[in-house]
Amino acid sequence: MSDAKAVADRLVKAKRLNALLTPPKDLRKSLNTQIAAARPTGVLYGMPVAVKDNICTLEFTTTCGSRILEGYRSPYEATAVAKLKAAGALIAGKTNCDEFAMGSSTEHSAYGRVLHPLDKTRVPGGSSGGSAALVAAGAVPAALGSETGGSVRQPAAFCGVVGIKPTYGRVSRYGLVAFGSSLDQIGVFGRSVHDAARVLSVISGRDPRDSTCEDRDPLRLPTVPESLQGFVIGLPKEYFPPELDPAVRRACDRAIRIMKELGAAVREVSLPHTPYAVPTYYVIAPAEASSNLARYDGVRYGPRFNGAADLRSLYRSTRGQGFGPEVRRRILVGTYVLSAGYYDAYYRRAQQMRALIVQDFRNAFDRGVDLLFTPTVPSPAFKAGEKLADPIAMYMSDIFTVTANLAGLPAMSLPIGRAKGLPLGGQLIGQAFLEDEMIEAAYALERVVPATDEA
């Protein structure tokens, strides 16, 4: 049983990272109340879990890292949050993120960038960078994030923690602020595979309030296996290009060697449409975002920005001033690709390509592969500011993660080594609703991989 003061102190100590948006006073007050109300029989009793600021909570404001929702208090809470509380967990504040989860560095937050816990000149990844940084800094054992194109796995890799994105439909999205509805999923961060997996197990399962959530029981956790005997691990050759960072390659080679030593059969596979995944994603996600973000117009929630002589100028000035540059860019790109005259050339093509990417995965799994192993990101954490002026360069850091979102598959990142002190992540991609197999393999790998050794 943790006490409120100790939990809050650990979070306040990590203040320099700018990872937590909740003011210390509000945090302390709420934790006191929560501890008194927590159910002692819950499986997560007393476990502090920080929550990304695009997931609705009753305890704290929900701003999505945006000025357009500054000070917004949600009148309801996400199902994932309600499930955590029912299991005895403590909601340990809201974490900073890229505005509306759009970004790969947590530099696109209206409330300032998040610092990498090991090197303040670098980014923690994104968009769930605040959650990743707090777990890496030891401020909380676990945190919730959300994924549309890698926003849990990529920061998990950069910060050296475990990040799991479950199958589309595994976790209810009720109370997750929508970005790309055919891609969004709530994900989890943990210091270890087990911390992340037990939180995932608690938040998973059916929810009558979300019709896209599958009618399934919560995820059952596997036991820690002695070996990887019987596992067939596929290595998609498109994820190991010649230009891959040499340290990332060395760390992956070492992890692959370990998996073989543990008894796994390893074979090369091909996912030929991988090179088209990023352009596909950056058509579909902005298209869905432009539609989802139409609701922020200064009428129903959030602040209203002035200069509003009539309704239309109220919409335009509120949205123009309330959204930051990356969100504005994506809304415009999304509106463009959905507009008459361009729909077929962009959106329809992207939809077709998405189907081909899904088929690539089906083909690999149909040939007897249980899991795929890849690097999570092509390089370690980059410098703050490095990719801000070049959106395409920023988007390319999602190259190995967007595919699982496009295909709705479960995937996770776990630390597999370091490059000059910076963490590197290895990714496992599983088959739909077979998170248990993926987590089982991660348990085995985690036990032996030298996660903090130079690769």
Binding site: R73, S74, P75, Y76, Y168, G169, S182, L183, P208, S211, T212, E214, D215, P279, T280, Y282, V283, S290, A294, V299, R300, Y301, G302, P303, A309, D310, L311, R312, L314, R316, R319, G320, Q321, P325, R328, R329, I331, L332, V333, T335, Y336, V337, S339, D344, A345, Y346, R349, A350, Q351, Q352, M353, R354, A355, L356, V358, P391, I392, L406, A407, G408
Partner: protein, 97 residues
């Protein structure tokens, strides 16, 4: 293919988004680069037979046709920028072209 200044303004109008003059050139340039990058998708032959992938449950689950309480902890007067007597208050409609 490149997006012109005027095109950005037209799209911004469709998106109900004010774009200021200073950021317009950068925005046009960045949108052009993003869309040029996405244009590589046209390298794939258009194929009407590819079935679009829709993630999630195969069929919509029906719920019992019952009214359930909304379960909101508080009403819009707490979070709306302007709310009076059960209505969201907005400025006059103005001209919609």
């Amino acid at each position: 293919m490149s997006v012109s200044r005027d095109e950005v303004l037209r799209i911004a109008q469709l998106a109900e988004l004010d774009v200021d003059e200073e950021t317009l050139p950068t925005l046009a340039d960045q949108m052009s680069r993003i869309l040029d990058y996405a244009a590589q998708l046209s390298a794939v032959p258009a194929n009407g037979t590819v079935k679009v992938f829709v993630p999630g449950p195969d069929a919509i689950r029906f719920r019992a046709d019952q009214v359930t309480p909304s379960g909101l902890a508080f009403g819009p007067e707490e979070f709306a920028p302007a709310f009076k007597e059960g209505f969201f208050v907005v400025p006059k409609l103005g001209q919609f072209e």
